[in-house]
Point group: C4
């Protein structure tokens, strides 16, 4: 039974834990980094890093996707982002000024299916494994275009999604189960925050489920909507759903991708130790010199026409490291925000584990007030 407390007479709630409320506990064995592997395999694809780069126009462009592939991760292009709306998306990116109103205006231009197809084709031509994100609302309309060009992984992602959407007006909601059953490519769906929804999303046939909505320094979903994801708890719950589903299906393993509150190597390590198979990073990579947002970060919720839920964050004149330094080092920055996966490798070794799958069983301790 989960830890629940009565918040008032006759009404209970669970206590959820954020990643910064827990820490890893080393075991009685340690390992050298050289005997540790951080490899991740989903469907037919193998990556040397358990890394999915978030579908934010601030970090994924056709160009940065190439470099991410080279370094061992998977980049997701936002199929409803600027690259699918503007022929010269780079020019639009340069013109952004950090104001929400500007984002709302720029993202108001309709998505062009033709442009979207072209982007997929270009990525494919460059030899990159192609992943594209679509929102649940537009998947029915846009997915055929993306699939036609041969996407490798489809990402169906909104702030909070479910396997059972009651739509508005005449438009029927997307039936994820039917939709995914008909596909040949693996699908990643999310965000989701709890056991029940995770289980239902697994039952749609998805290859992976995204846990969280990408909370970052600029996110305001918690204040605007009252939804907050204690990531450690959400991942542990979803890992239990994964085990339940594994049992229910006699062996289908669904991947969990943690998305939100991930800034440092330690955050990544803790997310994996809570049960994630990989992490989706957005703002953590915004400072990269190859990041199209030029040091700024925003996600899809920032441009919502009526209820924007994220501000543009950024570090104007800051030092811009390479993606390589950020992901695999080496670095001379001791903050924990660079050489993210080099740090992961070290901590896996210090805790005595040699694969991510084993590391999911690492011992955790609750550390109280973040210091």
């Amino acid at each position: 039974m989960p830890e629940t407390v009565e918040i008032g007479l006759g009404r209970s709630a669970r206590r959820g834990y954020h990643l910064d409320e827990i820490a890893l506990v080393p075991t009685r064995r340690t390992r050298g980094s050289a005997v540790v592997s951080t490899a991740w395999q989903i469907d037919a694809h193998t990556f040397t890093l358990p890394l999915v780069v978030a579908p934010s126009d601030a970090v994924v462009s056709p160009d940065s996707a190439l470099e991410i592939e080279r370094l061992g991760g998977l980049a997701v292009l936002d199929g409803e982002g600027l690259w699918a709306r503007y022929d010269d998306a780079a020019a639009e990116l340069r013109a952004l000024d950090g104001e929400t109103a500007t984002l709302q205006r720029v993202y108001a231009k309709p998505v062009s299916p033709e442009l979207l197809r072209r982007r997929v084709a270009e990525l494919r031509a460059a030899g990159v494994r192609v992943a594209v994100r679509l929102s649940p609302q537009h998947t029915a309309e846009l997915a055929p275009h993306v699939l036609a060009e041969g996407v490798d992984l489809l990402v169906i992602q909104g702030t909070v999604i479910s396997a059972e959407h009651v739509a508005e007006g005449d438009t029927p909601g997307l039936n994820l189960k039917t939709f995914i059953a008909d596909l040949d490519v693996p699908v990643l769906v999310g965000g989701c925050t709890n056991h029940q929804t995770a289980l239902h999303l697994m039952r749609t046939g998805a290859a992976g489920v995204i846990i969280g909505y990408g909370a970052h320094l600029g996110s305001t979903t918690h204040s605007a909507l009252g939804i907050d994801v204690p990531m450690a708890t959400a991942l542990v719950d979803a890992a239990t759903a994964r085990r339940d589903y594994l049992d229910e299906t006699g062996g289908r393993y669904v991947h969990l991708v943690a998305y939100g509150d991930l800034s440092t190597g330690g955050d990544i390590a803790k997310a994996l130790a809570c049960g994630a198979d990989a992490v989706m990073l957005g703002d953590a990579l915004a400072a990269a010199e190859q990041a199209p947002g030029d040091g700024h970060y925003w996600d899809a919720t920032a441009a919502h026409p009526r209820v924007p839920r994220s501000v543009v964050t950024g570090l104007a004149d800051a030092d811009r490291p390479s993606l390589e330094e950020l992901l695999v080092g080496p670095t001379a920055d001791p903050s924990g925000e660079r050489n993210l996966f080099g740090a992961l490798r070290r901590v896996m070794g210090k805790c005595g584990y040699s694969t991510v799958k084993e590391f999911q069983k690492a011992e955790l301790i609750i550390t109280g007030t973040p210091r």
Copy 2:
């Protein structure tokens, strides 16, 4: 049994939860905003928003009341505020300088029953549903004037009130039960913070009970008096009192109005999910261009002649949005402090509920230290 802990040998206390210590958990179903209703009905009155605007001279004037009615909410005029003390209240408002001493001086002028009657009559003539707030101390004297002009809802409100007041000297305390029984108009009473008092207030025949005393950034009731209202706990307790009373009376439903610590759409959503039927907003609307306080906020406790318990807060040259942007949007402000009820509608949908009554059962999670 509620969660209690021993704070010392032989003495226990409950742990109360503030709204910012909890968050909403989406369910396995989602709904589009178009199939969600935020409507609220109390007695014969229906509102499209579950909104009562607090009886603060900083936000409710005869003019702003009109706009609030138009947008779907209910404004409460302070029957002991400046509009009942000064013929040219607007001039007095302009002369305020944020000093407590000034407030004490300006509010020292006695209430004029005639002026109070005129305000009610004017509001009525303008087609607004009229709600007026009186303090328990002056209800006996002033209520007849208000009622004579045909008020739609009477609000009897102090920081903390009870159904059983032991008065000072010769003046007998107001007998709420007798008083309300004799009335034809519905009455809202409060503030109250716990199950027992809520139940007793319900038994007075009130149509609604206000939970909390309107804690806001400038409130000092917690430091001056040591009274603090963990709102989530207070609402859950009062919701249990409502259920007890429903059973006891064989079906009389008393409304709960949450008042305090409500700044964002998320705060409002969480208050409703804890059992509130509507929210009373004060400082959250102070920035509106139509707010008579010109961007500043204070409540009735700010002008107390001996023990003032609130400071004037305000944002001198800040951007002043319209009441419409604040309440129903759209907005380009991502802080969560604008389009409050548009955000509510979205989160109700994301959590899978279509009415406020259903939404009162939403799952909650305790999130620990506010981040």
Copy 3:
């Protein structure tokens, strides 16, 4: 059983609560301020306020003691402070500059028994009820002088004292039990922080026990020594010791005086609700225009020659209210730091209690993270 948790394998500790972690819960009855009494009686002495002013040279001088008596409280002169060391103590006070080294130098001058006698005699002549504080180390030597001049209440006080002191070298420790048994005047002893020590101090025959060591903004006892007093828990524990001792003696009631973390009317109210009979205030009164420290505050630990444990705090050019405004109002300051006992009277009424003794049973709620 108290709430204990295991902090590690095989070792438990209790969770203590500070006053700012709890709040008062009003009951279903309220009272007007006029039917509330804050009176306190100890031994033959009655005070209209449950107030002892701390033996700090920053707040108690022969002059301020007169005003404190007039307003209804009891001032304690530090029998080892500047008034007992310097003929012209006022001149020394004026020369202080807030540096610890200066305090150490000024307080290095030996106490003059003759000067101490003169101060007591002067206070007595002025018609003030005289209370003098001595440290346990110097009580044996100095008390005879104080008693000879007719002190009304003797205060034996150190940071942490016990009924059983193992002394250094040849000097035997003060035997509190023998010492107090031989006295005719009531004795207040402390500070103390737990049930066991409180019970032992009660058994010395003391009229009252001081709980806490006067923690204030400038205190560093918690960092220098690792001793911290969660005041709510310490008071509740001591109240249980008082009940145990009452039973053990068949009716001797020992007073509890809370000392530390008391800045506002709310703090005072919560201390009484936890079981205190009166509060000892120091820094809360330092801003008074009559305070000899001229707006600055320090206590006896600030001048320790080897391990000073308090810094001088102060508000250079700040507004200096009268002691009357600070204690009984009225005030135009809404911070809760003025009209401390007017606020107490109001909250006792709002919670439905008419005497301090009844108010010690007020319901408390734990409010989590101070906001």
Copy 4:
């Protein structure tokens, strides 16, 4: 059973406590400082202070080691630090500028076994008890040199070490058990953070185990690696391991040395009360006028070539006290950061204990949110 909570469905974690979440509770007996002893004895060596100075080039040089010995503590020279890499280490220290990149460059020069031997010989000649730290990776290679010159205590220390290291490539991991069994000098090993590892390290035959990795203001191990050591819990766990091992061996007592989060006398007292026999201090002594880092502090992790995990902290023009004032006083600084062991002596007395061994049983209280 330790306190564990479910952080999600089916997965539990313990709650760990940091030193700043607990405080000491005095008992019913007090003692004068003169009848308190802080002495520490490990193997054949006795020290008047339970103090080991951390092997950081910022605090231990051949010169400062002499003064530390004189004051009653034990200094550990970093056998892989600048003194073992440069003939004129002082010149290198002067050239450091606080940049991680500079540290990485300066520490890239290989360790010279000859230089290391010379340093040990010099210290020995000066009459200091010599302790040298080596990393587990280089112990096999460098220890013979150190031992040949007659070291008194060998310290084998990394961020996190274990008794069972799986090495990389062809290099076999150091077998601590075999290695220590063959030695004549006592060995201190660490850091370690939990019961299981502590027990295994004790079984290697070590004379002492270091608990913690020296977390200080500049540490980023918690963010970079996700490892955090709630010191109070780690010490209590290790003390239980010590008791288990004592039982298992029929009487071999292994010393615990706390390392991390120790800035004040109170921190030191609490670490001992949790079970430590001595403390290892680093940054707490960096301000000393004799500290070779000239007011700055860094540890070995700061210079890691790929994943640095500490920044250089420091107080440019700050006041520089003597080591004597920092360790044994007297002082005019009331922060608790000077006269560290004078304060320890006082608090041991105030709590009623006369030796460190007895003080390990002092009562603790959890104080909630650090104030």
